[in-house]
């Protein structure tokens, strides 16, 4: 029993230990300089990441409350990679921040929450994990303590997330009322598609839709992304979103499989709305973070299409796309983090003529944006292609056509940024930026990811083998 416990929950335990270490560090951080702290922390995260790769067990704990298997472990590792990259990128920002340990503690506890959410095998567990991964984020959002926007964003986030979670709970309660169980394993058998169940399911769905910010439950996203510190924004847009998407997929495919016809229609509607609205809003954004927020909303639309394929290929494609999306988006945010940390500039116009002064960063950003737009040879192309292919497997070509045309619209606003960087004349562009080693590493990692993940088939095949 205990050995089981130790083995199956290895990642969670590791993370918890790290959090505790951080606590002690915090207590004794008087004599440690910030730089050393950061070095130590990143080292710990690296250990965590590596540790993740040595756990290959599957099984359940606590009377089916907690489950784990290779796919989940892989997903957790993806999250680890993301967290590591983010922490490396936000080096410059954190160096100057006085609460950096708290930052990490909060972030890692949300990560822990996501772990549990992934592994949750029971609605109660799921709810707990969800809250664990949400509430600290609200605090993180407020981490630019003296910035008005930051606290406004935090407020909006906490209220809306509280609201969504209440609705989620309401849904859960109704579901519980109809079928009398919270266990994922038992739910499918009991589902019969009665209106009340549909009602509760819709409430559940909106809970997810809120987290992955699908239209019309997305409105908090832009404001929060804009207000939050860049590091947190990237965390929100990649890690938490990714985690929820993983869970969403598995829950839909396993737990609510009996309702698949109705949720296919819902996804159909949601994805179209999400793509169109996301794109339309992204068209005219000036603030880079806000722009990326909406672009990520549009991305979610595509992911929903992928999910709607509901077969093994589509699961693989979704996971694969999230990996790529993680690299691309983090690359974009990384450049943004560096720039805003050193110059405090986040508006698109500030990037005019950026290429003249910082060619390398410009190319990285361009690469990231191309990948987000799904342009070969970047990995984004493959991700998009497979997603849409998965979606098309249902033979719903209207959906695919709309999606394909939306990709063109999306391309337009990504190209706007490229245009600003490379073409627009600017007397005094952002001056030459000196990049520290850690962010460099992070960006390098992203670029490698962007280029190699697609052209070489290893990642995809690995995911696929996990699903078999």
């Amino acid at each position: 029993m205990l050995s089981d416990f130790l083995q199956l929950m290895l990642q969670e335990l590791l993370l918890t230990i790290i959090i505790f270490i951080l606590l002690f560090l915090k207590l004794s951080s008087k004599e440690l300089s910030k730089v050393n702290l950061l070095n130590i922390i990143n080292l710990l995260l690296l250990i965590n990441l590596i540790g993740g790769f040595f756990t290959t067990n599957s099984g359940t704990l606590f009377g089916d409350m907690f489950q784990t298997n290779d796919l989940l472990i892989f997903e957790k590792n993806i999250l680890n990679v993301g967290v590591l990259i983010i922490s490396l990128q936000s080096y410059d920002w954190l160096k100057t921040h006085k609460h950096l340990v708290e930052f990490y503690i909060l972030m890692l506890s949300t990560l822990l929450g996501m772990y549990f959410m992934l592994s949750s095998n029971n609605l109660l567990m799921f709810y707990l994990a969800l809250e664990l991964s949400t509430i600290p984020l609200a605090a993180l959002t407020n981490f630019d303590l003296e910035k008005r926007q930051s606290s406004e964003a935090a407020f909006k986030m906490i209220i809306s997330s509280a609201f969504s979670s209440t609705l989620l709970l309401f849904g859960i309660s109704l579901l519980y009322g109809t079928i009398g169980t919270l266990n994922f394993v038992e739910i499918p058998a009991a589902l019969n598609g009665s209106p009340l169940q549909l009602f509760s399911f819709i409430l559940l769905l909106t809970g997810f839709a809120f987290k992955i910010s699908a239209v019309p439950f997305h409105l908090w996203t832009a404001d929060v992304y804009e207000g939050a510190p860049v590091a947190v924004t990237s965390y929100l847009s990649v890690i938490s979103k990714g985690a929820v998407l993983f869970v969403f997929t598995s829950v839909l495919y396993t737990v609510f499989e009996p309702l698949s016809t109705s949720w296919y229609n819902m996804l159909f509607l949601l994805s179209i709305l999400t793509m169109i609205v996301g794109n339309l809003f992204a068209l005219r954004q000036q603030n880079m973070k806000r722009f990326l927020a909406f672009s990520s909303i549009a991305q979610v639309g595509f992911i929903l299409i992928g999910i709607s394929g509901q077969n093994i290929v589509s699961t693989a494609s979704v996971v694969f796309f999230i990996v790529i999306y993680l690299f691309s988006n983090l690359a974009a945010f990384g450049v943004l983090t560096i720039v805003s940390a050193q110059t405090g500039k986040e508006s698109m116009n500030d990037f005019n003529g950026f290429y003249k002064t910082n060619p390398t960063l410009s190319w990285v950003l361009a690469l990231a944006l191309f990948s987000l737009a799904g342009i070969p040879p970047t990995a984004g192309f493959f991700g998009k292609f497979f997603l849409l292919l998965a979606g098309a497997s249902k033979g719903n070509y209207l959906l695919i056509t709309i999606a394909a045309l939306n990709m063109v619209v999306a391309l337009f606003y990504y190209l706007r940024v490229i245009q600003a960087i490379f073409m627009t004349k600017n007397e005094k562009p952002i001056e030459k930026i000196k990049v520290h080693l850690f962010p460099k590493l992070a960006l390098l990692l992203c670029v490698i990811g962007i280029i190699c993940t697609g052209i070489f088939n290893t990642v995809y095949n690995y995911i696929f083998s996990l699903l078999k």
Binding site: F155, I159, F170, G180
Partner: protein, 104 residues
């Protein structure tokens, strides 16, 4: 016919739910909004307990869930209030209408 049926309780909880919603949508004071959220949560709690008691008495899932909800609600409220305080520092007000800088 003096014993209370589940319907009454559900009615109560639903009423609570909508009262909470109403408060959330209309109140302009942030703290009040928070209270409204609590109302909704409580309606959920009532639901759980009621279902558990009336429909599935043999297991205690609902009860446990309620307990957890209460706990988490507390945590949530704590964080929320902390944020609101911080917001008050910068905005000198806890009126929702004042926290609308970021739009479009």
């Amino acid at each position: 016919m003096n014993e209370i049926s589940i319907n009454h309780i559900l009615f109560l909880s639903t009423a609570l739910f909508f009262i909470g919603l109403y408060g959330l949508f209309t109140r302009r004071n942030m703290i009040t909004m928070l209270m409204a959220v609590e109302l909704i949560l409580n309606s959920v709690n009532i639901n759980f307990v009621a279902f558990n008691k009336y429909l599935f008495p043999e297991r205690l899932d609902g009860i446990f869930f309620t307990i957890f909800i209460i706990a988490i609600a507390a945590a949530e409220a704590a964080v929320a209030i902390a944020i609101i305080i911080n917001l008050y520092r910068s905005h000198q007000s806890i009126d929702v209408e004042d926290a609308t800088e970021m739009k479009y």
